[in-house]
Amino acid sequence: MMWNWSFAWHILPTILHGMVITIEATILGMLLALVLGLFWAGLLLLPNRWIFWSTRGITEFIRDTPLLIQLFFCYYVLPEIGITIPALLTGITVLGINYSAYTAEVYRAGLQNIPRGQWDAAKALNFTTWQTFTRIILPQAIPPIVPAMGNNLIAMFKDTPLLSTITVMEMLDRAMIIGDKTFRYLEPLTMVGILFLIISLMASALIGFTQRKILVRR
Amino acid sequence: MNHKASIEFVNIHKSYQRTVVLENLNLTVAPGEHVVIIGPSGSGKSTILRLLMTLEKPDSGEILIEGESVWHTTRDGRNVDASPAHIRRMRGKVGMVFQHFNLFPHLRVLQNITEAPIRVMGMPRSQAVRRATDLLDRVGLADKAEAWPAELSGGQKQRVAIARALALQPRIMLFDEITSALDPEIAGQVLQLVLDLAKQTEMTMLFVTHQMRFARQIADRVLFFDRGRIIENGTPEQVLDHPQQPRTREFLNNVFQAS
């Protein structure tokens, strides 16, 4: 069985349609991860040991278990406790929560790189803690961590095919449906692979570019 | 020719990208001679040592050690690039001590010294250990054999580095600003060690240094080096006390004012 170009052209629109959902899931998932990760990082800064260790425990558990099982768990258990949401939304939520454990680490590293003197100076100027955090610390901490966040974004993008296992019709799911129907897996799977490759290579190049930009500016 | 020179540089050119570091350099060093190279930083002094150690390759010209070309051999009457084996044989005649010591951080002091004799010369371990212990004794660090490099002070590290280079019994020793990274007091002790060493051995020695007092004590000959060229060449008295060139005078004035 060799590569069939006309078949490949024929199925391209269906797969590209799936790409829209893939990208949607990535962007929304990342937004959730960025917000929730900052929340975890903030909790880790609080001077309460209980909060610190339970936050550590939660993020550690999330990072040490497979995303696939987390997806299955939420997909099957959420309806049992009365939450019925579309599979895509479940997928986005799980992706976001999963990656929040990683973005939290990135935030933490970024915050640790801010010298103590900045906190002291803000206190000396009588800023509130909230003001210090949002107006002094974060604006300094964010730019250096942009590349690391970008790498998380690419990693999440490459994890979206897992959503196909909970019936989300993203690229891989559509490719497999085509394969199951026509018994031709070579074209759809190869095309999905190439599309992923193109997008992640472009994204990596973009991150490299911003990284150089940030390095030049500092 | 009966009396072979220890080192010869013949028309050596070396540049990095567009910067010319050495320009048409000619230099001959006699066996057992102690030559000190001085000059402003960035003038290419260290490059001379790095070329001799085969850490860098010249763009053109010949480097000869004991009359034999380092980078070329003759085959069927023609000059061809030397084999890696030839280069390694030539490299074996030279030892080097670096500004930043470059000790191996993952090996203990004694292992730093025995590693090369065992792996390069194929010396039995027991013999290598005995020699390394002797050398450590000679540099005054007999009690540090089992220490890690990170546990030593800068001066101690440099002593170990000297012992490590000596362990291979080179015929030529290169000292590249070996006290630049040390406190003045410690530097004096390390230099004294080198002075003693120079008296006890027949080795040819090349130094790049900013220590003028040391240069005067150890040198048979001093070279003043500026912008890729030797512009003064003579005994310590000639070069340090009666420099002919305005650049040399200016440089020496600056150095003595600073110290």
Binding site: P66, S200 | P149
Partner: protein
């Protein structure tokens, strides 16, 4: 929940096999790839680059499905699911491992190379006695993370008929419909396995340590 345990533990054994096998494949693949990447020959550098970019640029699940569904159509034989999973997940991990190795090896300072040359070390002595021992402490922590990622990725094998934790959990879920228990148990088992692996790697790290000074 107790009656689920034997089947889940049998799955855990297979998960362990897949992970261990993939780690072996990844170690070999990343060593070869990094040796090729660091060689001065472009003819070696390029294939290694293509391998690394290909496996890092696409998703592990797509690679696995491709190898399971598409590849046998062009291959003269059909490898068993577990072999397919081990090779694909191993090659995937190897591509990331190669970048870890490369970064660590390139971070060994130039002075160390100079010293090795000045002491007339051969190329192999230099690599194995000077460069690699110093790269090790930098390699191990990210490698530990990679191995844990590979353990988690091994769950994908369950989707191509390897009878690991994931596969057995799916069967139990369909037969018992006790969703929370089945997948909760699966999560806990993976978590414990990850902790064991992490502990083992930390032990290895401690054994590889030597006191590192600022400037040696």
């Amino acid at each position: 929940m107790l009656h689920m345990l034997p089947m889940m533990l049998r799955g855990a054994l297979v998960t362990g096999e897949v992970t261990a096998g993939a780690i072996v494949v990844a170690s070999v693949a990343s060593s070869c790839a990094v040796a090729m990447r660091l060689s001065t020959l472009t003819a070696l550098d390029w294939p290694a680059r293509v391998y690394i970019e290909l496996f890092r640029g696409t998703s592990a699940l797509i690679q696995l499905f491709w190898a399971f569904y598409a590849l046998p159509l062009v291959l003269p034989f059909r490898p068993s699911p577990i072999i397919t999973a081990i090779v694909v997940l191993g090659l995937n991990g190897g591509a990331y491992g190669a970048e870890i190795l490369r970064g660590a090896i390139l971070s060994v300072p130039r002075g160390q190379h100079d010293a090795a040359t000045a002491l007339n070390f051969s190329a192999t002595t230099k690599v194995f006695r000077v460069v690699l021992p110093q790269a090790w402490p930098l390699i191990l922590p990210p490698m530990a993370n990679l191995f844990i990622d590979m353990l988690k990725n091994s769950a994908l094998a369950g989707l191509v008929q390897v009878t690991d934790i994931t596969f057995n959990a799916q069967i139990l879920q369909e037969s018992t419909l006790r969703n929370a228990e089945v997948y909760g148990l699966a999560l806990v088992i993976y978590f414990i396995m990850a902790l064991v692996l992490a502990g083992f790697m930390r032990l290895l790290e401690r054994r590889m340590k030597f006191p590192v000074g600022a400037r040696i």
